[in-house]
């Protein structure tokens, strides 16, 4: 790893990190701030939810308790929107951290320095990991503070922790797919569209498979299937095996990405 490159990479992504952190922090606080008023109306909404077709409630990860328990309420948003927001930042950063230099022609500057492609790749991945962890912990910390203010006292912290461990697993996995994407695709503008597509797509794949038994197999294709957010399940716990498998897969993806990168021609 090269410290000069690592720190420059962090600096170059600083603005994006701040922007996305503000978005995620704002969104997290907003959800938790809404909860007390939702809880008052909770019973009415719960009745309404019961009238919805079962397929829809299942797909959205809702049940009656969603509206009366703070952690249940938060989990429906965390499981998709917050993962999506965090994922957009980390995955598109993963997709651009190497490819932007190729697009701008600066890879010529970088790759004529006395460092190997392995060092370049490793340093960039180290920066990417750092950025991912920073925004992840900022969001987690915000959520903890939000729960302390708006949670109404009885917060299920262990469910909170499990949910956030699952979240980190998903975000880390999606981030590696961003790196892989950038080895093969060169979008004109940016990777945002593809990234949103991948994360939303895999979420809905899982949602559809839950709602309709006949296409249950579709769920196996989605990482969301393996790391659940249904915190109100009585036996909700960390799926260590899924985490291990997903992170190993992420490692394989990075390894493969590097093998593509190491043989790449850099044209002027």
């Amino acid at each position: 790893m090269n410290k000069n490159l690592y720190t420059k990479e962090l600096k170059r992504n600083r603005k994006n990190l701040i922007t996305w952190s503000l978005i995620v922090v704002g969104f997290t606080l907003m959800i938790l701030a809404i909860f007390p008023s939702m809880a008052e109306m909770g019973e009415d909404i719960a009745k309404m939810t019961d009238k919805l077709p079962e397929e829809i409630t299942k797909a959205m990860g809702m049940d009656a308790q969603t509206w009366t328990s703070s952690i249940g309420f938060y989990s429906t948003y965390y499981g998709i929107y917050i993962i999506l927001l965090l994922g957009i930042f980390t995955t598109s950063t993963g997709a651009t951290i190497i490819s932007k230099e190729e697009k701008d022609g600066t890879s010529e500057f970088l790759m004529t320095k006395p460092i190997s492609r392995k060092t370049i790749f490793d340093s960039k991945m180290a920066s990417l990991l750092t950025l991912t962890l920073i925004i992840y912990f900022i969001q987690t910390l915000t959520a903890i503070i939000g729960f302390l203010i708006f949670g109404g006292g009885n917060v299920d912290w262990s469910a909170f922790a499990i949910m956030h461990v699952h979240g980190l697993g998903l975000i880390a996995f999606f981030t590696t797919t961003g790196v892989l994407l950038s080895m093969f695709f060169k979008p004109k503008k940016n990777f945002m569209g593809i990234v949103v597509g991948i994360i939303f797509g895999s979420y809905f794949l899982n949602a559809i498979s839950k709602a309709t038994d006949s296409v249950e197999w579709l769920g196996y294709l989605s990482p969301f299937h393996y790391l659940e957010f249904n915190v109100l399940d009585s036996d909700y716990s960390v799926s260590w095996i899924s985490l291990l498998v997903l992170l190993t897969l992420g490692g394989v993806i990075l390894k493969f990405s590097f093998s593509v990168y190491s043989k790449k021609d850099i044209n002027g």
């Binding site: 000069n4 022609g105 500057f109 004529t112 006395p114 190997s116 790449k264 044209n267």
Partner: protein
């Protein structure tokens, strides 16, 4: 030890030829020219040397190290000046030069200042606000800042005004005196003539000639122009005269052969004026280009 040594280095982009079987040897301390028209493969060769392109076949060494497996060690001692400069827009020249320096060790702030002053570059302007020529100046400074042993220059003078070109050539002479080897790629022959000891000609991806510049100039013909006082009768031209043309009292021809024979013959003539010229490198190399 050779500064650059390649053995049948080839690069294909799919079926498209970049360079084919390029074998070159550049001695340490030499100023070596690399001439060829646009698209001949000059940049492809340089990019393969630097590890930006992965060669299809063949091998190469720079400063005794393998270009494919030991590239990062080689690049410690190499200064590279690209033909088109692409830098990080959001940085200033100063930031860029400091970032560059940190890959090699400590930042030499005094040297950055000195060179920036020499080339009249405003260090605090953002790269994105620099003109093509000013970016080039920044790239020139960058190429020598870490005291390289070998300078690789790809069309180095494009974008520089004549004053800056001169300062740049002075810098190169200064570097070469310190023992730095210079590999100078260009399609501008007068530059090669000014700087280089030796030059290779590349055309359609293949080396067509490697020549010693001085020997080449000496070996070659002279351009001769005589003006006679009055038109001589029964003039016998010595051997080695070719392409003679009369225009009133003016005779022009090309001469290939020992110079004293020409001078002895001149002494017997009634001349009002005489001009002996070296042909420029351009006309010599046109042969290679046109082949």
């Amino acid at each position: 030890m050779f500064a650059i040594q390649t053995n049948k280095l080839s690069k294909y982009y799919g079926a498209h030829l970049g360079i084919k079987d390029v074998s070159l040897e550049v001695k340490e301390g030499e100023v070596f020219g690399f001439i060829g028209p646009n698209g001949a493969g000059k940049s492809t060769f340089i990019r393969a040397l630097l590890g930006l392109l992965i060669p299809t076949s063949g091998s190469g060494k720079m400063l005794g190290l393998d270009i494919e497996t030991q590239g990062h060690l080689i690049r410690e001692s190499i200064g590279y000046l690209p033909s088109e400069v692409h830098y990080y827009d959001e940085m200033s020249s100063r930031e860029l030069l400091e970032y560059h320096s940190k890959f090699y060790g400590e930042v030499n702030h005094a040297e950055i200042e000195r060179l920036a002053e020499h080339f009249e570059l405003d260090l605090d302007k953002l790269i994105t606000d620099l003109s093509f020529g000013n970016k080039k100046k920044c790239a020139i400074i960058q190429s020598v800042l870490h005291n390289p042993k070998l300078l690789i220059l790809d069309e180095p003078t494009s974008g520089l005004d004549p004053l800056m070109q001169n300062r740049f050539f002075e810098l190169l002479e200064e570097q070469n005196k310190k023992g730095v080897t210079i590999f100078f790629s260009s399609h501008i022959l007068s530059e090669i003539q000014r700087m280089c000891d030796k030059a290779a000609v590349i055309r359609k991806g293949e080396i067509t000639a490697i020549e010693d510049i001085n020997a080449l100039m000496k070996k070659q013909m002279k351009k001769v122009r005589f003006v006679f006082g009055e038109k001589p009768k029964d003039l016998v031209l010595p051997e080695g005269v070719q392409n003679e043309h009369w225009h009133n009292l003016k005779l022009t021809f090309e001469y290939v052969g020992p110079i004293h024979i020409l001078i002895d013959w001149m002494a017997t003539l009634d001349l009002a004026d005489a001009v002996l010229e070296e042909p420029d490198l351009e006309s010599i190399f046109m042969n290679y280009y046109e082949r």
